[in-house]
């Protein structure tokens, strides 16, 4: 995203009006590419946006299972490389109960990393040039950004009618 998109920003003070606005605009064609911003994650917004369950969970699952395998494989590979007898027990399969801990820990570790990467990936994060359309969006205002329209457009009027506090063009 080398070039910043232009468009309008509608700020809402109230959550309920904001939700109504999202519900209204997401059905409409002339709002393609609109983005809704909120300072925190209200479930109302999620419902209004009508998202499907997040695919992050698959990242978690796959990474977690990979972790399990790596944990056990690590321990067993070390044993296979040099089976050393300690405490009267041979290395390898007979010592498997001890490796449950290792397997568990790597499951969690990999799972956590998988989740984070999933979140970053789907959230398109790690973006140094993120387009900050409205600074108050991380403070106390709910914001809708509609790209490619101007302040005087039909869309702006609609947003205003849905309770927007102010309409700015960026």
């Amino acid at each position: 995203m080398s070039k910043k998109q232009t468009g309008i920003v509608a700020n809402y003070q109230y959550l309920d009006e904001f939700c109504t606005a999202i519900e209204t605009v997401r059905e409409r064609d002339d709002f393609t590419g609109f983005e809704a911003f909120s300072p925190t994650s209200y479930h109302e917004i999620e419902h209004a946006s009508g998202f499907k369950p997040s695919p992050v969970r698959f990242f978690t699952l796959i990474a977690g299972l990979t972790g399990t395998c790596i944990g056990f494989a690590l321990a067993l590979a070390m044993d296979w490389d040099w089976p050393i007898v300690v405490g009267g027990k041979t290395a390898g399969i007979p010592s498997l109960p001890a490796y449950v801990v290792i397997g568990f820990e790597t499951t969690i570790l990999f799972g956590a990393f998988g989740t984070i990467f999933g979140m970053l990936f789907f959230g398109r994060l790690g973006n140094p040039q993120a387009h900050i359309v409205e600074e108050r969006a991380t403070d106390d205002r709910f914001t809708i950004f509609v790209p490619g329209v101007t302040a005087g457009s039909e869309q702006a009027t609609l947003l205003k009618s849905l309770g927007a506090e102010e309409i700015k063009s960026v």
């Binding site: 998202f51 490796y99 820990e105 984070i116 106390d140």
Partner: protein
């Protein structure tokens, strides 16, 4: 619970009030920070001294091969537990009061684990090879580590715990860092911008964020329970009477959460004062925290009792001898300190009145911390001093190095914690907004109140 909370502030105040610490905390902050740094320097110097001459400068001796360092280690790992508990488990339980304290509870977790992580290194005799053996690459020996050793489990557990806690904490920080970014200019904006990963707060991001946060919480939950279990296996896997019991994992976890909650409370009070957060960390939240403390205290009380019962019931003479000596031997002082601090004093929290008395609660929480330290002292040392063969019995007295390094670790913990408080929002701004009254339009409120009637 948040229904009962009387909020005097609105969502619009949150950022302004909380971020005020980025500019000017109370002068006592600087006093605390310099004391901490001094302690750290003393600790570092002591460690250098000890490492260059040998472990003999600590009080550890035969047969007490593990001493105060391991006590500190377990203590700090225990402290670390409350953070993840509050942020992960209470998140899954949707206990809303956690939103006001979770940020610094998590920070506390990280810095406590950082402190804890130092102790195995301080404790080993040859610190200069320990790190290499644990990560033996390039492996010119063709030899790896012993995955059957509880200490290796510890390495895995603690490092996983630290990493996951760090991820969890940082993930929570991202929206707040974006808030700061949007509030500052110049270099700081650039730095916070980098740190916030370019968070914009779109509904989609929030959607994935919520999912990720939930899964992370779900992963962290068993982790919280496992870390101290693994730590407890350091003891339970040895044959040592007084250690070799199956009750250790739950007992340690309960103890850890107790100490963690008490530490959270101990930290809230000054932080709340220094950064003027009385309006955000409300009395009701503190009350909930104390209730959790009370709950874990009773679990710990039960564990102590059952430990004694099993020692007696098993008919194992070695086991019973240890417990007899714990309660009535030369180390009885530590035992009774532990019992009074961890089990008896917290009983005051049954009374709502006493819970509301912040000064008293603060003192009791500090006593719980002391008691938990002595619990570890008690478990580790009283078992080691006199075990199987009477001919090998000995005594223990902490050495000067151990005492200084213990203080150093407190300095280390508080130093990081205070630095954190200065540069990051102490209270999770995005999350506290969630538990505040929703910013609904007057129309909607009217409609709602009509609907109620």
């Amino acid at each position: 619970m948040s229904d009962e909370v009387k909020w005097t502030k609105s969502m619009a105040d949150v950022n302004r009030d909380i971020l005020v610490n980025l500019q000017s905390p109370h002068p006592s902050y600087y006093v605390a920070l310099s004391i901490s740094i001094l302690l750290v320097l003393i600790g570092i110097a002591t460690l250098a001294w000890q490492t260059s001459y040998g472990m003999g400068w600590a009080g550890i001796t035969s047969p007490v091969y593990w001493g105060v360092y391991i006590v500190d280690f377990v203590f700090w790992v225990g402290i670390g537990h409350a953070g993840t508990l509050i942020s992960a488990i209470l998140f899954l339980f949707r206990a809303q009061w956690r939103n006001s304290v979770n940020r610094f509870a998590e920070a506390m977790t990280i810095f406590a684990v950082l402190s804890a992580g130092l102790f195995p290194l301080i404790h080993v005799g040859r610190i200069w090879v320990a790190a290499y053996w644990m990560f033996p690459i390039p492996n010119t020996n063709n030899m790896w580590i012993n995955m059957r050793s509880p200490l290796v489990w510890d390495v895995f557990a603690i490092s996983t715990y630290l990493t996951v806690s760090l991820l969890f904490w940082y993930m929570g920080l991202v929206p707040d860092l974006a808030s700061i970014r949007d509030r500052v200019r110049g270099l700081r904006r650039f730095v916070y911008g980098i740190m916030s990963f370019g968070w914009r707060g779109t509904a989609k991001q929030w959607h994935h964020y919520e999912a990720g946060y939930g899964f992370l919480a779900a992963l962290a939950t068993p982790l919280v329970l496992s870390v101290h279990s693994v730590v407890s296996w350091d003891f339970a896997m040895a044959l040592q009477p007084g250690w070799h019991t199956t009750i250790f994992p739950p007992y340690f976890v309960a103890g850890a959460i107790l100490s963690g909650c008490a530490m959270v409370f101990t930290l809230i009070i000054p932080v709340r004062f220094m950064f003027r957060l009385e309006e955000y960390i409300k009395k009701e939240h503190l009350d909930a925290c104390l209730k959790l403390t009370l709950l874990t205290s009773t679990i710990v009380f039960y564990a102590y009792a059952i430990e004694f019962f099993i020692a007696w019931y098993s008919g194992n003479p070695y086991e019973w001898a240890i417990f007899e000596k714990r309660a009535a031997g030369p180390y009885a002082f530590y035992f009774w300190t532990m019992v009074f601090c961890n089990c008896i004093f917290p009983l005051a929290f049954w009374s709502k009145k006493l819970r509301e008395n912040l000064a008293l609660s603060f003192v009791i929480c500090i006593l719980i911390n002391v008691g938990m330290w002595f619990e570890r002292y008690n478990i580790i040392l009283s078992s080691l001093v006199e075990d199987f063969i009477p001919g090998s019995w000995g005594h223990f007295q902490p050495g000067i190095a151990e005492i200084l390094i213990t203080f150093g670790s407190f300095g280390w913990f508080f130093m990081w914690f205070l630095i954190f408080c200065k540069f990051f929002p102490v209270v999770s701004m995005s999350e506290i907004k969630l538990i505040m009254p929703k910013p609904l339009s007057p129309k909607k409120i009217q409609a709602l109140s009509q609907g109620e009637h």
